[in-house]
Amino acid sequence: MTTPLLEVTDLVRHYELPREKLFGPPPLVKALNGVSFSVPPGRSMGIVGESGSGKSTIARLVMALDRPTSGSVKLEGRDLHTLPREQLRAARRDVQMVFQDPYGSLDPRQTVARIVAEPLQALAETSRAAQRERVGESLAAVGLRASDLDKYPHEFSGGQRQRIAIARALITRPKLIVADEPVSALDVSVQAQVLNLMQDLQQQFGISYLLISHDLAVVNHLCDDVCVLHHGRVVERGAPQHLFAHAAHPYTQALLAAVPRAEPTVVS
């Protein structure tokens, strides 16, 4: 058996809130209570669940932006949270992230060229010219023009910005892209464009996604596997088509039942 691309084992994350009493333990928010799953190379995993179920917390832990209370996150067998700093840097090459808010995730003060090149600067010291070339390639891959290089984020629409964010994630040729609600802030018509793009890139570069969304249809569209998260635990997992057709866990069923169908039911 090959090593999975991403293996998350027994991930627990409790947040301590500010102490309210002088003595006595601080209150805890149990965001994650033992989550395990793995993503084989080239396949994509979706995570769904209601608000506050711990989806973004998983994303932060996988990106090593936060430390787990216990449990491990292994990327191609390396535990990200125990790697020495230098190796962690190198490992970051293989995993990139796309955020929900296309307005907040791009530094308004930097040009598109700088934004997209940021992962390169942090990792390897390639020459300016080579960097620019790669940025150009990356932008082309998401359907933006080279003439956009020297523009600022505020000169783009929401959909275009999300493309820039994806271009930034692509530039290191990552094996895994963690996408935390990448399309929920976008308009329906733009959302489709971005989803198509993500799908194309997956086919083109063999990228795996860890796609986080509360929209079941979005996950269904892009992922090979889905985990349903409820109160910091995975309550059900499987291939989306199968899961959505034959949900076993009551929470999954409730979730599915609540999705409005685009079939008119009200008759005047």
């Binding site: 809130l17 500010p18 102490r19 309210e20 009493k21 002088l22």
Partner: protein, 316 residues
């Protein structure tokens, strides 16, 4: 609540200890001493020396520091070199003026600022707004001692409504006392009110963009009522924060204004005590000021909780 209070008390104590060391140290290197000053230029050196001994100025700094702190813990602040009367009495006398003055000035500041700030926000970008904000710009640019003289010129000299200064204490009644504090408080308040009005305006404008304002209006609440009933309280958090900072500015501002209105206040006491090298008075006054600032900030934090119920649970 308890943790919050505990933290506050710790801060207060740390501040006071820090202040005591800094103040003592700084004053130690002041050139000149009280004995020489009290005796004057023509005094014989023998006289100066015996006064220095009497005041305990000839002892090492270390001893005097402990003497001071020890005395303070026992509630004895020592005797003023210059007035040869207990510092406690001196300070209490002065506080009876400075605290009411600062409070009155703060009241003026608040009333003026809220009126101007809310009115300007309500007329956002219209003539009234631009006019009022222009006024506040001017208010900010006028030094308070200058404004004080202007007030005296108009209200004391020309109209003779108020005396040009001085303060007779509270024995003649609250009204008489307040009357003599009116002009000083006003001249202190104008600059601060101008600053606060601008803060109020932008806070109100910010809150006016919030969704719940639209909700209130959708209920049929009129624009005015929305402003005073819904918006203002929400806008008070930044306003109160600034007010807390302004209170210490006001306390400091009294040094200047008390000079113009010849008021026997704490500010002038400190100023004179420094030039008289009446260091024991300076030390105690500065400690008092530092404590007052910390306490005022504490009150501000309590006010937050009063204003905003969201803060009650976690912060206090």
């Amino acid at each position: 609540m308890s943790l919050f209070l505990f933290k506050r008390v710790l801060t207060l104590i740390a501040t006071l200890i820090g202040a005591s060391i800094i103040v003592f140290g700084v004053l130690e290197i002041l050139p000149g001493n009280a004995a020489q000053l009290l005796m004057g230029a023509d005094a014989s050196p023998e006289a100066v020396a015996s006064l220095a001994t009497k005041l305990g100025l000839d002892q090492p700094a270390w001893t005097r520091y402990w003497h001071w702190i020890g005395g303070m813990l026992r509630g004895d602040l020592g005797d003023s070199y210059a007035y040869s009367s207990p510092v406690v009495e001196l300070i209490l006398e002065r506080l009876a003026l400075t605290v009411p003055l600062a409070l009155l000035a703060m009241t003026f500041t608040t009333i003026l600022a809220l009126l101007v700030g809310v009115t300007a926000a309500a007329r956002h970008n219209k003539l009234g707004d631009v006019g009022l904000m222009g006024l506040t710009q001017i208010g900010i640019a006028i030094p308070n001692f200058w404004f004080a003289i202007l007030l005296i010129l108009v209200f004391s000299v020309k109209l003779q409504w108020f005396s040009a200064g001085g303060f007779e204490g509270w024995d003649d009644g609250i009204v008489a006392g307040l009357k003599s504090l009116l002009l000083p408080a006003l001249s202190l308040a104008v600059v601060q009110a101008a600053i606060l009005a601008r803060i109020t305006r932008s806070a109100v404008l910010e809150v006016m963009r919030e969704d719940f304002v639209r909700t209130a209006r959708a209920k049929g609440v009129s624009q005015r009522a929305v402003l005073w009933r819904h918006v203002l309280r929400n806008a008070m958090i930044p306003v109160v924060t600034v007010m807390g900072l302004q209170f210490s500015e006001l306390l400091a501002g009294t040094i200047v204004v008390e000079n113009v209105f010849y008021l026997p206040g704490l500010g002038r006491l400190i100023f004179q005590a420094i030039s008289n090298r009446d260091l024991i008075v300076v030390r105690n006054c500065v400690m008092l000021l530092a404590a007052m600032v910390v306490v005022v900030n504490f009150v501000v934090d309590l006010l937050y909780a009063v204003i905003d119920p969201r803060l009650k649970a976690s912060d206090i």
